[in-house]
Amino acid sequence: MNELHPLGKLLVSVLYIVLVASINKYDIVTLILMSVYLVFIFVIGDLSFRDGIYRMRLVLPLVIFVGIFNPFFDKTVLFYIGKIGITTGMLSMLTLVIKGVYTVLAAYSLIITTSIDDICYAFGCIKMPKIMILVIMLIYRYFGVMAEEAGRITTAYSLRAPSQKGIHYSAWGTLVGQWLLRSMDRAERVYESMLLRGFKGDFNTVKKKVKKTDIIFPVVWIVIFILIRWRVIL
């Protein structure tokens, strides 16, 4: 998976997300069929489902929160399981959660198998404006810088406040101020390092060669998506 051309992976992932999001809210069968892509990617790419699910821990509650009111507003009973009536609201909530899981896992599988440089290269291939690609790359780099600084500050704090759980509210203001100032200093040094090596506002990447598999991969998956989404064969 890592060796595939990033443009193919980007197009397939975006198309997958769009098609999953567009599936009818009661059409659970199509949604289940669409899981074939994720299963393929996770198996072929040797990715861990556990890690994928773990990384969704922040997004999943939000998805559930959005769908949790559906059963209260949409009460038409579709069928019964024993004595429990399954309503369209329940079904739409379930499809919403599944859609959330699928789209996050699709994005996760793209990110885990493609470096940010390659993703930006793919953006370049589809003629995204250079300035936007540059902003994405710099945001990515400076997120790393800020995360490292935050890690250092919290470690230094916790080592000197071993009995405290987390950071006391009275220290938040100072720590956040320090964090921003230190991150800005660090970001400036990174930028200086780029300037000193001839950076003129453009990341020069090597043009990637397109192999047969780079074409077969997106074509096959786009066909499969169309067949499943519009239930051509089922």
Binding site: S115, V190, S193, L195, L196, R197, G198, F199, N204, V206
Partner: protein, 248 residues
């Protein structure tokens, strides 16, 4: 990139620099440096070593005096030329390495100068070979050890084939083995090297010439062995004899 200049690569005449808050950190600095020399710049904290280094690479342009690097006067117009010929290795390797893989980071400079991909790959290989780090070519930069980060940082500069290499505290945070390895690598490089450090033993092992700075001025400029053995001179200006010479 090599200029082909053999002789005077760096010429500083009456250079002074004052920060916006009025701190006159460098005063009337004059010196010349020739191709192949290795120069150590020493001095206590806050005497302007890092500022001088930043001026040399054009990161601070509001200095007074005259500064010529690789045949070009350091000003906004010539920055591209100067940066092609001068490599700066930051004290903190994490600031130097910003791409995800070592290979990409080492190739960053040559690619920015529009070299062909074959040439870029040749330079990456050569730079990593020079620092004995070909084994980390495909490694992610965030997974490197401190020593590997330093070697990669130097390789990112060597791939640009500069005439002058400026290093800010290169031995900091290195274990003895990596430090010894770095000394060997620097001694093999035949370009003009300017190294700032508080590690006087490191300066002794890598530099033939030493410049002692204090209060923004050059106090001494000469043979490393002579300056670093002068206990009185060093102590007067906030330093001590190198540990290897300290007989206490």
């Amino acid at each position: 990139m090599k200029t082909g200049i053999h002789g005077e690569l760096l010429k500083i005449e009456n250079l002074s620099f004052t920060y916006e808050d009025g701190n006159n950190v460098l005063q009337d600095i004059s010196l010349t440096a020739r191709d192949g020399e290795s120069i150590g710049i020493i001095g206590a904290n806050g005497i302007g070593k890092s500022t001088l280094m930043k001026i040399l690479v054009g990161l601070k342009l509001d200095y007074t005096g005259k500064l010529t690097v690789a045949g070009h006067e350091v000003n906004k117009k010539n920055l591209n030329h100067i940066r092609e010929h001068v490599g700066f290795v930051f004290q903190d390797s994490d600031s130097q390495l910003f791409l995800s893989k070592v290979e990409d980071d080492v190739a960053f400079g040559p690619r920015n100068y529009g070299l062909s991909e074959d040439e870029v790959q040749r330079r990456v290989t050569e730079a990593l070979e020079k620092v004995h780090a070909t084994h980390i070519r495909d490694k992610h930069t965030y997974k490197l050890s401190g020593g590997e980060k330093k070697l990669s940082s130097i390789a990112t500069i060597l791939s640009m084939e500069p005439d002058i290499i400026i290093m800010d505290e290169p031995s900091i945070a290195l274990d003895p083995r990596n430090r010894r390895n770095l000394i060997g690598i620097l001694n093999e490089l035949d370009v003009l090297k300017i190294i700032t450090s508080h590690d006087l033993d490191f300066i002794m092992d890598t530099c033939k010439r030493t410049i002692l700075l204090d209060e923004g001025r050059i106090i001494a400029d000469g043979d490393t062995n002579t300056i670093l053995r002068d206990k009185e001179l060093l102590e007067t200006h906030g330093l001590e004899l190198p540990l290897s010479l300290n007989t206490r």
